[in-house]
């Protein structure tokens, strides 16, 4: 059982109704989160959603307007950054340009006035962790972007903080390196066992790396959960559209039972059966969301009549591994259906301007009320 599913588990980091105002602008609005030991937690959102402000509050660079932060049971809200058991890895890495790699990493340990031999041992240990022992005497400007990123990581974990904050740690790397580094970062996190809070605008990054993630919008948290939970069961239209791509049909509930609802959607051109637990009154306006990869497509009508509509293929986007079909329904709505490219494009029977049937399984539709 994951710690967040265990009612007896004690959260390691407690963020209690934090708000942060800059003048009249409210950057963070009443955010509460419980994060458990050893988690890699992501704050995901677009620019200006308040994720960086929240991170700066945790680091101690900003004082929250209200609320408090507890790390391992200790209230750190009023502590200055240099007295917190929290370290941060900066987006720009913020390596000291006048110090060598060794001195950069040793800087934090020197502030604790540890004996030189201990500092040496721990710096070398962390240099080994990032596999950069031979670069100890280089200056930051003599390193590549990826190497700087690793030095910044080593510098922030060498003090063994209780919490490590990462501000867009991979944003400055190119795509290929970023994908490699994602796994490296997760491996290092597992080895050192430090709780990570990561801020990112890149949903792929958040999905691959985190144990859980929080989707933020306009200073608020919209949804918290494991990546697959957020992807499969978005709790709102905003989250559904923010993560991945989504087909959304508006409609009205016409039948409601204990385990399912039927939604009549003129937009979809059919009635939609969706498994759903919970009470929704008949006649309520709702939307049903279905992921493109869960929409199946054929030229002949499927056996089951429900959750099936038809349309004309308007566009085929070939992405190499998958193709996305843009199908126009009779209502004028465009639906995406993505299929793995098992066959080459020329060998497929569905072509441009073909009439196709689109259908999906009842459990793959998500009912959204907000």
């Amino acid at each position: 059982m994951e710690p967040w599913q265990d009612p007896n588990a004690e959260p390691y980091i407690q963020i209690e109704s934090i708000s942060k105002k800059y003048g009249s602008v409210e950057a963070v609005r009443n955010v509460s989160l419980s994060i458990y030991k050893g988690e890699l937690f992501s704050l995901l959102g677009g620019s200006g959603c308040g994720k960086s402000s929240l991170l700066r509050v945790l680091a101690g660079f900003e004082t929250p307007t209200s609320g408090r932060v507890l790390v391992d049971g200790v209230d750190i809200t009023d502590k200055p950054p240099y007295e917190r058991p929290v370290n941060m890895m900066f987006q720009s890495y913020a390596l000291f340009p006048h110090m060598t790699v060794y001195k950069n990493i040793a800087f934090g340990l020197k502030q604790e006035s540890l004996p030189k031999s201990v500092i040496y041992e721990r710096v070398m240990e962390s240099l080994e962790l990032i596999q950069m022992t031979q670069f100890a005497n280089r200056k930051p400007q003599q390193l590549s972007g990826g190497q700087r990123q690793r030095v910044a990581l080593a510098r922030s974990i060498v003090k063994r903080p209780k919490l490590l904050l990462l501000d867009e740690p991979l944003a400055a790397l190119d795509k290929r390196l970023r994908e490699q580094t994602q796994f490296e970062l997760v491996n290092i996190q597992e080895r050192v066992g430090i709780t990570f809070i990561l801020v990112t605008h890149d949903q792929e990054e958040a999905m691959t790396m985190s144990s859980r993630m929080a989707i933020m919008e306009d200073g608020r948290i919209r949804q918290v959960g494991a990546p697959h939970d957020v992807y499969e069961f978005p709790n709102s239209r905003f989250v559904a559209e923010f993560i991945g791509s989504m087909n959304i049909f508006d409609g009205v509930v016409v039948e409601e039972a204990q385990d399912h609802v039927i939604v009549d959607s003129p937009e979809a051109g059919c009635s939609i059966l969706t498994t759903h637990v919970g009470a929704i009154p008949i006649g309520a306006n709702v939307s049903v969301a279905i992921r493109p990869e869960k929409v199946m497509m054929s030229k002949t009508p499927p056996a089951e009549g429900r959750n099936c509509t038809k349309g004309i293929v308007r566009e085929i986007a070939y992405l190499g591994d998958i193709s996305i079909y843009y199908v126009e329904l009779s209502s004028g709505k465009h639906i995406q259906s993505s299929l793995p490219n098992l066959l080459r494009l020329s060998e497929r029977n569905v072509k441009w301007d073909d009439e196709v049937y689109l259908f999906w399984r009842a459990e793959n539709g998500v009912l959204l009320t907000v």
């Binding site: 680091a59 941060m88 922030s156």
Partner: protein
């Protein structure tokens, strides 16, 4: 300075060789050469040349470098007597020393005041920064001489300060503020302070705030962060500022002459005196050459120190 200039040219040359395809407008590259030859190299050579002549009542008041020995022979006459005078007469040495002490102390005082002011400007919001910089630079729109005279009228026995102190009743008779090295130093600091503030401000402004935040985050207090991060990263600005203050105040003539009176004798005043009062151009030139040499020596020394530190 000469060495620096030379290095710059070499750098340009190298670049030119590398980018021969790009062919930057060659006249533009040639311009610095022409300028330096016309206004730096030729005058320097002339000064050195005059310093090696003998004072002589004529027009110009020195012996020519090349003189006819007989009808068919010409000879180059080099006279080192001026330099011997400089090294034997302690008057010149003490003038040089007092100039160095005056310039050095002005530079150090400027550094402390200038650094704190530059730091304060840097910490202000962007809009306030512009206003503060304007306030620092604004007095320099007025003439340098007028500012020195303003100090004189402030400090002389009938000046504003004495009048004020008498009115308050702190003193019964006016104090003689002028005519000493301390007040010369004060006015020099006043006049050269912006030259210290601006380069330090530029260096401090370049330091990214995230570096200070990183230092705080790693457990260094505000003061430690300032000492370990801000200060080392502002060294280039400090060096530039110190040079900009030290060099002109070493040769300063107007301030010691007007403020210092007869009590101070700086190298600038000595050169002026030799030129215009004694009409001994060669001696004046040799002082100038000696000053230049001592300065180049200092620059080389600091450069050597840098090289040694790097090797270490």
């Amino acid at each position: 300075m000469l060495k620096l200039l030379f290095k710059k040219f070499q750098h340009i040359k190298k670049q030119k060789a590398l980018e021969s395809k790009l062919q930057a407008p060659s006249l533009l590259l040639f311009f610095p050469y022409i300028w330096s030859i016309l206004f730096f190299l030729i005058p320097t050579i002339l000064v050195i040349k005059i310093s090696l002549a003998k004072s002589f009542i004529s027009l110009p008041p020195f012996t020519p470098l090349i003189q006819g020995i007989s009808d068919y022979f010409w000879g180059v006459y080099l006279y080192f007597g001026n330099y011997i005078t400089l090294f034997t007469d302690s008057f010149y040495f003490s003038a040089l020393l007092s100039s160095f002490v005056l310039a050095g102390s002005s530079t150090i005082i400027c550094l402390f005041i200038g650094y704190s002011m530059a730091y304060a400007v840097c910490r202000a919001s962007k809009r306030v920064q512009i206003i503060l910089i304007l306030l620092i630079v604004l007095p320099f729109v007025t003439s340098f001489l007028i500012r020195v005279y303003a100090w004189m009228s402030l400090l002389n026995s009938q000046g504003a300060l004495n009048v004020l102190l008498t009115k308050i009743g702190l003193i019964s008779a006016p104090i003689h503020f002028l005519d000493n090295n301390y007040v010369v130093c004060l006015v020099m600091v006043y006049c050269y302070l912006p030259f210290m503030i601006m380069p330090i401000y530029a260096a401090l402004d370049k330091i990214e705030n995230s570096l200070i935040e990183a230092s705080l985050d790693l457990g260094a207090s505000q003061w430690q962060s300032f000492w370990h991060i801000t200060v080392p990263l502002s060294i280039p600005g400090v060096m530039a500022g110190c040079t900009l203050v030290f060099v002109p105040s070493l040769g300063e003539f107007v301030i010691p002459e007007l403020i210092g009176g007869a009590r101070t004798m700086t190298i600038g005043q000595t050169i002026w005196g030799e030129f215009f009062q004694n009409r001994d151009w060669p001696l004046a030139c040799s002082i100038a050459v000696l000053m230049m040499c001592s300065f180049v020596f200092c620059a080389l020394l600091s450069k050597m120190k840098g090289v040694l530190l790097k090797n270490k």
